[in-house]
Symmetry: C2
Subunit: 470 residues, 2 copies
C-alpha cells in the first residue's frame, strides 16, 4: 500500500462510492520511504541526463550497423571497451565466443506478370540464396501462417509461398510472439512443402516501404530456401495484384551466404560492490544490431540507458551490490550473448537481472519475480518509480531476451517496460536510426533505471531466488 494513508483511503472510497469502512479495514502499513539520495539521483537523471544520448550517438555514428560476428561488431566491442573504461567502470573486459555468421548480399524482387513492377524486400537472416541470375516462379498466397501450415505436403513444389498476416500494435509488444511466427518458422514450413522460395509480409506495424529483417531458422539437414520480407506496402500491393485472379509470378534475386564461425563476445563492465555475498545485479542491452541500420533503438538505446544509470549510481559511492553492465553480443542472430553469459557465470551469486531491449520509449510499468522475502525491496521500488508514472504490473518478469537465460536459472528479474506502441514501426528496418530517439523519453528511462538500481543495489535485505508467484 506504500504511503497510502487513511485519509487517502477515505478519498478513494468516496471516489468509488463505497462506504469508507469497506476500504479502511485494510490495516495501515508503516510508510515506505526511499533513500533521499536515490530520489535525488533519479530526478537529476530525469532533468538532465546527457550520457545516454552521448553513448547512443557515438555508437550509432562512429560504429554504425554492427551485425553479429562481423568486423563491425568487433569494432563496436573495441569502441565499447574504450568508452566504458573512459567512463570509469571497473573490470572492463570481453567474454568471447564464436557464432555462425550469415551475411546479406544483393537483394531484389519484382512482379514479372501480370503487372510488372519492382518490390521492396530484404532477406531474412539464414535465408538461402537464389541462383546468381535470380529465380522466377509462380506465387501461392497464404493469408496467415496457419494457412501455410495446412497446405498439403508437396503442394508448393516449384512455387514461391507468400505468407501475409495482420499485426496489431500493442504497448507491451506482446503481438510480436504470435505474428513473428510467420518469420521464424514460415520459411522452414514452406521449404518442407516443396517451395522454392518464400516471401513474408514484414513483421511490423508501419506503412512505409521499409522491409523488416530478422532471423529465421531451418532445421538441421534442411537446405535453406531464399526467404525475404516484403515491406508492408509491397505485401499489400502483392495481395492486390493476386486479388485480380490472374497467375502471378515473381522474380527474386538474393545472394546472402554463410561465412562460417566468427568471433563475437559480451562486453562487461562493473561498479564494484562492498558485499560480494549480496549478489551481483546484472543489467544491460545488446551491442550487436541488424545490418540494415545503425541500431539506435535496437539496441543502442538499451546499452546507453542502463550504462548511464549505472554511472549515476557509481558517482554516489560504492554500492552494497556489484552492478555488472553487460553489452551482450550476437543477440539478433540467436541470443548467443545471453546464453553464453548464463552458461559461463552460472555458479556466481546473482541478485537480480534486467535488460533494456525494447526501444527508447518511456517506461510505463514494471514487473518483477522478486521473492516474497524481498517484499520491502519491491515496496521501495514501487515508491521510487511512482513519480515517473511507472506502476507495478501484475505480469511476471522475464529478464529480457539476453537476461532471460540467467533469469531462467532462478535469478530474480526486474523488467522496466518501455512503451512499444511504435516499436514495430522501426524494428529491424533501415529506419532504426538516431533521429527516432526522443531525448525526453531517453532521460525518463535513465531516471527509472537509476531509481531501480539505487533501491536494489543498496537494499539491506537478502534477495534470494526468483519467485514468479507473488
Amino acid at each position: 500500500m506504500g504511503e497510502m494513508t487513511h485519509r487517502m483511503l477515505a478519498a478513494a472510497a468516496a471516489a468509488l462510492a463505497l462506504p469508507t469502512a469497506a476500504v479502511a479495514q485494510v490495516p495501515a502499513a508503516a510508510p515506505v520511504t526511499i533513500d533521499p539520495a536515490v530520489a535525488k539521483a533519479r530526478d537529476a537523471a530525469l532533468e538532465g541526463d546527457t550520457l545516454a544520448w552521448e553513448i547512443v550517438e557515438e555508437l550509432t555514428t562512429e560504429v554504425g550497423p554492427r551485425l553479429a560476428g562481423t568486423e563491425k561488431e568487433a569494432q563496436a566491442r573495441a569502441w565499447a571497451v574504450r568508452k566504458l573504461k573512459a567512463l570509469g567502470f571497473s573490470n572492463v573486459r570481453v567474454d568471447s565466443f564464436e557464432v555462425q555468421v550469415w551475411v546479406r548480399g544483393e537483394e531484389r524482387g519484382e512482379i514479372v506478370t501480370p503487372f510488372a513492377q519492382p518490390l521492396v524486400l530484404t532477406a531474412l537472416g539464414n535465408s538461402g540464396a537464389t541462383p546468381p541470375e535470380g529465380l522466377t516462379a509462380p506465387v501461392v498466397f497464404f493469408p496467415t501462417i496457419a494457412n501455410l501450415q495446412a497446405a498439403p505436403a508437396g503442394s508448393l513444389r516449384g512455387k514461391i509461398a507468400f505468407v501475409s498476416h495482420a499485426m496489431t500494435r500493442t504497448q507491451d509488444g506482446s503481438s510480436y510472439g504470435a505474428y513473428g511466427t510467420a518469420r521464424r518458422i514460415g520459411p522452414a514450413v514452406a521449404a518442407e512443402k516443396g517451395a522454392v522460395a518464400v516471401l513474408i509480409r514484414s513483421i511490423g506495424t508501419d506503412s512505409h516501404r521499409m522491409p523488416h529483417t530478422g532471423g529465421t531458422n531451418f532445421p538441421t539437414g534442411m537446405t535453406p530456401i531464399p526467404a525475404a520480407a516484403l515491406s508492408i506496402p509491397d505485401a499489400e500491393q502483392l495481395e492486390r495484384v493476386l486479388q485480380r485472379g490472374k497467375p502471378v509470378s515473381v522474380k527474386l534475386l538474393l545472394t546472402p551466404r554463410q561465412t562460417g564461425l566468427r568471433s563475437s563476445g559480451n562486453v562487461i563492465a562493473e561498479v564494484p560492490g562492498r558485499d560480494p555475498s549480496a549478489g551481483t545485479i546484472v543489467i544491460g542491452g545488446h551491442l550487436d544490431s541488424w545490418d540494415l541500420a545503425t541500431g539506435a533503438i535496437d539496441d543502442g538505446a538499451g546499452v546507453a540507458i542502463t550504462t548511464a544509470a549505472a554511472k549515476r549510481i557509481m558517482s554516489m559511492g560504492r554500492p552494497r551490490r556489484t552492478i555488472r553492465v553487460v553489452w551482450f553480443g550476437s543477440e539478433e542472430i540467436g541470443l548467443f550473448g545471453g546464453n553464453h553469459y548464463a552458461l559461463t557465470h552460472k555458479g556466481e551469486r546473482h541478485a537480480t537481472v534486467s535488460e533494456s531491449d525494447f526501444g527508447a520509449g518511456r517506461i510505463w510499468q514494471f514487473r518483477t519475480t522478486l521473492p516474497a522475502a524481498a517484499k520491502p525491496v519491491l515496496e521501495r521500488l514501487t515508491v521510487a518509480l511512482a513519480p515517473l508514472g511507472v506502476p507495478l504490473s501484475t505480469a511476471t518478469a522475464n529478464g529480457g531476451p539476453d537476461g532471460g537465460p540467467l533469469a531462467r536459472t532462478g535469478v530474480a528479474a526486474i523488467d522496466l517496460q518501455q512503451d512499444g506502441t511504435d516499436y514495430f514501426d522501426l524494428h529491424h528496418t533501415p529506419d532504426d536510426t538516431l533521429d527516432k530517439i526522443d531525448k525526453g523519453a531517453l532521460r525518463q528511462n535513465v531516471a527509472a533505471w537509476t531509481a531501480m538500481l539505487g533501491v536494489v543495489a543498496n537494499a539491506p535485505e537478502t534477495i534470494g531466488a526468483a519467485d514468479p508467484i507473488r
Copy 2:
C-alpha cells in the same frame, strides 16, 4: 459577403465586441445561391465517391511506377485510354510528343573513412554516372546552397560537394520553392566549381531512410556529374560524422544513363459542352510518376480526383462548357505535357484551367485569377465550396505545374489547394504508395472539384481572360 445576413452581422459584431452599427452599415447584398443539383452532386461525392479510389487503385496496382518516356508510361497511357473510354468520356485520345529519357541504374553510397558505413541515397534525374567501379573522394560540406554558391571557383576540384539545408513543413507547399533550389541547381553549381560529384540532403520533411529523387539540370555543354539525394537520416548522419572534424571520404556508385528521345504524351478525354463559344474548362493531373514508387499521391490522386468529379458532372447532363480532362505526360522530368498542351491548343477558346497535383490531402482553400467580369461566378464558387471548409484565399492562382503554361497565356486559373503539410514526407520517395491515401480526404477532394465544375461549367456569364489583380 455571400449569404451573410444582418442577423449574422450583428452576431459577428457582438463576437468582436463592436457596436452592431459599425458592421451593419455594409449594404446587404443579394443572396448568392447555387444550383441545388450542384450542391447535391457535391454532397453525394463527399458521402460516397468511390471512383477516384478505383482509378488511383487500378493505376498504381496494374501499372505501378511509370517514369516519363519509358515503356511504363506508355502502358499507363494505354490503360488510361481504356479506362476513360469505359467511363463514358468522349474524344478520348493521346496527344503525343517526344522527350529525352534518363533512366536510373545501380545506386550505392558509403562512408569510407573515418567511420565506414552505408548511406541510403538515390540519383537525381539527369545525374551523371560514376565509373562502373564507383568513385571515392573527400567530402566538402555546405550547410546551404548559398554556401555552395559562395565557394571559390575551382575549390571543389576532386571533391564531393555535400549540400544540406533545413526544410520547413508548410500547408501550402511554399517552402519547396526555396529549399528545392539545392536539388534543381546545386549539382550544376558544384560541377562548375570542379566537384566530381554532389550529394544533397533530400528535399523533404520526413525522418525516414527514404531518399527523395527529382530532376536536376545541367546547362547545355556542361558534363553532368553524379548527383544524388541522401535520405534525411543519412544526411544528418553524414553531418554528424563531418562534425567530428576528421577528413571524410565517401564512395559512390551511380550508373544512370540517358537513353535518347522517346515517346510520351497527354491523354485527353472530354465531357462535351453545349456552347463552344463559352470556352473549354481544362482540368487534370499528370500521369507519369517517378520510378521509385507507384505515384499514388504524385499524381495518381490528381488524375483520379479530377476525373471522378468530371464523371459526376457528365452524369448530370450535358454542361454548357466542355470539360476537358487532361492526364499530362512527362511532368516530372520538365513539365513537357503542360507545355505541349499550351503550345498545341493555343488558339482555342479556354474558359478556365485547374490542376490537382499536390497529393491527396484535404482541400483547405482556393484561389483564382477569374476576371472581375466573372465576379458572380467567383461568388457562387465561394458559396459552393464553403460547406467543405474551403474559403477563398487572397493569393493568386497559377493553374498548377501542368496548367501553368496555359494559365500564363491568359486563361483564368482556379486552384483548389490541398493541405500539403505532410506532402513532402512522401514526395518523390519509394513511399509514395496507395496506402498513403486517406479515402475520406479523397472524397472531400472529389466533392470540391465537383462543386467547382458544377458552378463553372454552367455559368451563364462570360469567362474572359485572367485578371490576377482582384
